[in-house]
């Protein structure tokens, strides 16, 4: 897959959807394409985060440790981004991500990610917007949950 195809993938990700194609190309060029085999682990819960991954091809599962062992909490497919929280704030990974099929990803290192944000404020704005959306959604869920309980 060439750079231009990767740019197409990036455009489909909400976080990057409003960013100009030329900047996305830079992001694609400077990030590393990493291939995982089925069963390979992208990162483990508790590790310090050093990169985010964008799934280009294949599926992955998100697992969380609990008293009853690993629980699968989500599935990821092409065009999903994973691991971006841990590189934004210095917290350990909150979950383990494992390849369910052979997986092609773009790996954006923490360093590169911050460099892009400082260089292109519009990426930062998009990320803020995305995070605000998520916060909004979480709050909404919490409100519903509280209402149901009360």
């Amino acid at each position: 897959m060439s750079l231009n195809e990767e740019v197409e993938v990036l455009r489909k990700i909400p976080l990057f959807s409003r960013i100009e194609p030329s900047k996305l190309k830079l992001l694609a060029f400077t990030s590393e394409r990493v291939i995982f085999k089925r069963g390979d682990v992208l990162f483990r819960q508790g590790d310090m985060g050093d990169a985010a991954y964008i799934l280009i091809e294949g599926d992955a599962e998100v697992l969380v440790n609990s008293s009853r062992g690993e629980i699968r909490v989500a599935r990821l497919g092409a065009n999903d981004i994973v691991g971006e929280i841990a590189i934004l704030v210095d917290i350990p990974r909150t979950a383990t991500v494992r390849a369910e099929t052979d997986l092609v990803t773009l790996r954006i290192s923490k360093e590169l990610f911050f460099r892009l944000i400082t260089e292109f404020p519009q990426i930062a704005v998009e990320i803020m917007r995305e995070l605000a959306h998520r916060l909004e959604a979480t709050t909404e869920q919490l409100r519903i949950a509280m209402t149901e309980r009360g």
Partner: protein, 879 residues
Amino acid sequence: MSKTIYGFVFRYSARQQVLLLLVTLAAFPFLYLSLELPKTIINRAINGQDFPAELLGMEFDQIPYLVLLCGIFLLLVLINGAFKFTINVWKGRLGERMLRRLRYELYSRVLRFPLPHFKRVSQGEIIPMITSEVEPLGGFIGDAVAQPVFQGGQLLTIFAFILVQDPFLGLAAISLYPLQGYLIPKLQRRVNDLAKQRVRTVRRLSDRLGESISGIAEIRAHDASNFHRAGFADLLGRIYEIRFEIYQRKFFIKFLNNFLAQLTPFFFYLIGGYLVIRGDLSFGALVAVLAAYKDMSAPWKELLLFYQQKEDARIKYEQVIEQFEPPGLLDERLQLEEPEAVTPFDPSGEVSFVNVSYVEDGATLLEGVSFTFGLSERVAIVGPGGGGKEAVAMILARLLQPTSGRVMVAGEDLFQLPEAVTGRRMAYVGQGAQLFAASIRDNILLGLKHRPLRPPADERGERAARAAEAALAGNTADDILADWVDYAAAGVEDSQGMSRRLVELLHAFDLDREVYELGLRGVIDPAANPALAERLLQARCELRERLSHPDMAGLVEPFDAERYNENATLAENLLFGSPVGPEFEIDNLAGSDYVRAVLEKVGIRERLLEAGREIAEVMVELFGDLDPDQEIFERYSFVGAEDLSELQAILARLNRLSIAELEEHERARLLALPFKMIPARHRLGVIDDALKERILEARRVFAADLPPHLRGSIEFFDAGRYSAAASIQDNILFGKVVHGTAQGPARVGELIAEVVDALGLREDIIVVGLDSNAGIGGGRLSAGQRQKIALVRCVLKRPDIMIVDQATATLDNGARNRILDSLFAETEGRCLVWVLDQPSQAQRFDRVLVMQDGRLVEQGTYAELEQAGAALRGLVAAE
């Protein structure tokens, strides 16, 4: 060391100076003759009448007489030239030898400075003194005696000549000399003071410069650069003022001299003219006297100039020397003299401090400290920082001299022992151990290099000649190229035994893995080490085997002469080898005539230029509007920030022109781009399969057509041969780690380690790693690695007393404990003195000394002090 420059000159070169003077005087008659002869040629040979003329009892006609005289003239010119040449060479050689002696003496003194002195004078001050400040002295020393005698002699001769013509005029000619002789030194004195100030200020300038360099991180981190600029500018301003004043005064002296010199002819014309008119003096005599006076002014001027130079040299010498005589300079004999035999300290002996006090810059660091311990004990010294524990360690290592009191080791006064004993039977390592810009091996062996032990191979006697010359300048005759390593002191037979011992110690001090990594990146010469090369080739086969396992498939793409390697650069794919030297370095390929010829023969030059254009377009698109200072540029772009604007210009021209119409250097710029492309990594898609096929064709042409003079510039990839141009790792790998496999490089590294261990190669690779350079001040290694290497350096020489001054403070706890274990094992049965930064570790020692406020407050075993002593308990509790 002589206090004055003339003291120095006479002490070391009196004989040569006299010789030089004699030769100078011997030249005189010939000089005189060569000035006299032209007169004879004109008056007697050309204008002469009475021929045949007589010379040396033979008679000559006019023409032969002329030829003869001219022949003699030519001969005299040659003789004069030969004298001048000889004198100058002698002077030069004498000056250089004396300069060499002076520098050597100064350096030798630096090596004997008391350590606290380095807190008062900085590198920045000392270095220019030895390098640049004394430089002009060499030139002066050659002239020191001959010049004043020569010029003075000339002056006297001419003066005598005038005096014979007319005593009155003779005295008149020198009438102003006393005035000059009085005035000039007076004026010069102020210039001398200024010169001293200048020297001091320039030293401060270099001190400031050195400080800025070592403190650059602080300056940048605090935005203090402008403050430092201002400080530097202030010093420059001071130097400017001083120098300008020196100029003014110097030129004023010159002006005064010239004026006084012209004043004398004024009197000659006036008084002499008066006398001629009165008829008391003949006209001819006045002319002769005037001419003679003119001759006199030249040597007089030279003498005055010499006086100024002498003053300059005197000041420089004195200003330098006074910096090299600090109080407490170590006795020269203690460093230079080699005892008959250096015997180990008796392990049943004792170390005792008797009432030791130490005062530095008015602060009392130790006061009346007395203790005794055995030479087979392990002693821990604990206490708060600055409480005196560091001073005790440094005094015991003889790095500091106590202000009062005595230190006895095995019945001898420590401060009377030569360094040959203290430096071999004792070892000290502090907190910031220094490494030198040499290989790790040489850094470790430093502790065994005391004297040249085995002379270097020297077939032509050049080393002996160099040593003889060194002796003439009072330098050491010890040969740096000799083998200095004292294998016996380390308990090994030879260099191979040493390698084994080093590997053992690296393992004990937790350094083996790191040095192994360095070794993997190192190179070996297969011709010098065929057995190792052969085994590394086995490792290559073994790795290939393991890589064929399904779990490992796709980790490495091996080099294959028939296939394009997707994970290598286009340059590597074209060359199919490692460049040796600059000819085929990746940055030079586009400019190489041979590469161009190959590309043209295969007919892909235009195609690659087109690829270069595409890459340039992408680069400009991606990076064109980025801030060029961004690191992102360096890391990801193919081109530097400056080159990018050039590419932009080339692309702009391509809007109007075709690639073929570009200038040659622009085409080279474009051609350079695709060489760096790695398809699997860059994913730009500009190298298609058709092009790859053509590159493979170019690869074959490149190898087939390679002219003989370029054969040495490349070492082709060859599955069956070890490449001297590639690192050990690349040789084992013989391929490229595939980009984009998760954890690829780490997994390949593990696999290589497995293979290396399976074939028992690890030790050999560590030995190669020992040859890696430590960098300036050990800068290529981490602080922890430097400390460990310094410890290995100490342990290797098996000292009777090992002193460790908080040397492991920068390491993590695990490493500290392992190193403590290793040091205990290595110093078994001998004396180990450890200044601990963690008092609780003292438990493992036989005896504990607690230092506080410069006093020994408690001593005993850990158990005793834990029960009875308050100080140790307090320290441990506070840990």
